[in-house]
């Protein structure tokens, strides 16, 4: 009976639903996107166009005045030289962190590919553990390690012949301090990067590699001409993710300065928080948030184009 019924049923399913099916499939996603992302995003944009009069009053009372001021908030932020200093610092910080994370991640991935099984298991286990630690906690631990009087890093460095690091304050100079932050950020990022890239490398077709070797390519050339192009889509995705994370970095800086980041430690994430939540100037916070997204979009334009190319190719 069922066999008899099936052919028409199948035809019906194949043809009719196809027109509506994709919409049906994305419906839950779209609902979620609109509800928990679209609406808040709309709210942020609205906030960035308004001005709360009289402090928090407007926030707490629906009858408070929140007149639209157009792009005034953006004008205020963009004409403040602080913003540009912070933007520049954030861009450099992001670039350094993304490049370092990817280079080290790739290095470890290649290494994982070369070592004995036991060594790989140990290294992967350590990476997985590191991945699981919340950044608040890892930052606290790094803060101890780099503490001036009581830190392990100074203690160990000082023990080296000819090095005098006792009592060295890593946080007095924001450049050094941000280097410590970079260490925390990179430390937190490499597990995902190394493990992903390693898995990617294991999938590089062996015959292509062999062919390259037969053609006389050294390890570096083989890496460049075979492995790297093969991994390119993955690297693009990982770079994108890293850029998004590092551009908005907050916890690592906030906790390494114990909640009091000096001007030299201000990145856009910190700036947005202290302008918005910290000072209850939610309009300015939202403005900085919107600007952050615009900056990210600029950076991502290359990626978005690639994304659509992939999309078209499918």
């Amino acid at each position: 009976m069922t066999t008899l019924d099936r052919p028409p049923a199948r035809r019906r399913r194949r043809r009719r639903p196809v027109a509506g099916l994709p919409f049906l499939l994305i419906l839950p996603c779209v609902a979620v996107l609109i509800a928990v992302a679209g609406w808040p995003l709309y709210k942020i944009i609205m906030l960035s166009l308004q001005k709360q009069e009289s402090g928090k009053y407007a926030l707490f009372h629906s009858r408070g005045t929140t007149p639209f001021v157009g792009l005034k908030n953006f004008g205020d932020v963009l004409t403040d030289s602080t913003f540009w200093t912070i933007l520049e610092r954030t861009v450099i910080f992001t670039a350094v962190n993304v490049v370092l994370s990817l280079l080290i991640g790739m290095g470890i991935a290649l290494l994982l590919n070369r070592v004995s099984q036991w060594a790989r298991i140990i290294l992967v286990a350590v990476l997985l553990f590191a991945w699981a630690i919340p950044s608040t906690v890892s930052t606290q631990v790094f803060y101890w390690l780099f503490s001036n009087q009581y830190g392990v890093v100074n203690y160990v460095l000082d023990a080296l012949p000819g090095v005098h690091m006792r009592g060295h304050d890593w946080f007095a100079d924001p450049h050094q301090g941000l280097a410590v932050v970079t260490a925390v950020v990179v430390w937190g990022a490499i597990p995902l990067l190394a493990i992903s890239l390693h898995a990617g490398i294991t999938q590089v077709p062996r015959d292509t590699l062999e062919a390259a070797r037969v053609d006389g390519a050294g390890p570096w050339q083989a890496f460049r001409s075979v492995t790297l192009p093969f991994l390119r889509p993955l690297i693009v995705i990982l770079t994108t993710l890293s850029v998004i994370w590092d551009f908005g970095v907050f916890n690592q800086i906030w906790f390494v300065r114990n909640g009091h980041p000096e001007p030299g430690y201000q990145t856009l994430g910190i700036y947005m928080y202290s302008q918005g939540v910290g000072s209850s100037h939610y309009n300015l916070g939202a403005t900085v948030g919107v600007l952050m997204m615009i900056c990210l979009l600029f950076v991502m334009i290359f990626y978005i184009r690639q994304l659509f190319r992939i999309g078209d190719a499918e």
């Binding site: 199948r10 979620v32 140990i122 590191a130 631990v141 392990v152 997204m293 978005i304």
Partner: protein
Amino acid sequence: MTVTVEPRVKAAASTDSPPTVRRRTRGRRRYATGGWNALAMVLAAVIGFPIYWMLITAFKRSSDITTLTPQFWPKHPTWRGFSEVIHDPIFLQDMRNSAVITVAAVLISIIIGFFGAMAIARFRFLGRKVFIFAVLIVQMIPLLALTIPMSLLLDSVHLKNSLPGIILAYLMFTMPYTVWTLRTFIANVPRELDEAALVDGCSRWQTFYKIILPLVAPGLIATGVYGWILAWNEFALANTLLLTNDKQTLMIYLLIFQSSPVHGADWSGLMAASTLTALPVVVLFVLFQSRISVGLTAGAVKG
């Protein structure tokens, strides 16, 4: 407790890895391996040191934590931190909350994300690009800017201070990533397989279920684990949206060890609690270790 982790990591990892390993070891120049192994161990030591420091701090007496000559091994080991945390009913309650929130957010985002990914990988339809773009954009919204809008949103639908509310909020960052990753994954399942299945008389639903789902399983696991970490370790939204002690998560629990105006910080308690907080994630990793690495990339590489 933590002592048992290491062997389990190894055990799980070793049962999972042999096939890949054997394949890869073939034909490698053996003599260099010793050097690479040594380098790997140095790296493991360097990367693992902060974790080691977290663990031994959890076992230290407070006067042994910040000493001029660092104690690389606790001189007066104590279980106080761990036993206080384990016997704290609030910790257990918060662990439960974190688990409920995380599992729900991850499961829901995998299910609906899978459908969404299916749509963009297998169909061309009006608004497809807009949808892809939206998914990407959402990942760029800074979470910290969201606390007030998200709070107002949940407030207006009476979901503030409720687990369903925060689960919904977490979908904002767990779901887009899922869609994004699974898209490439599904795209890699040859269309011919669907066709063949259809010819075989499978319904579309069965095609999903019997052909595509098993093939993208590693992707589901990998994105699930990734989402798990994000949700498990999220702080800002949880702290804003969950108001009462019986609803709060482990990340908020960790705050009670910080210094306050009236108390110094209880560092060994904090590190013990942090270790116990990270433990479920580590266990999860161990369980899915091999799938994670395959899953994180298989789709992306071929896409």
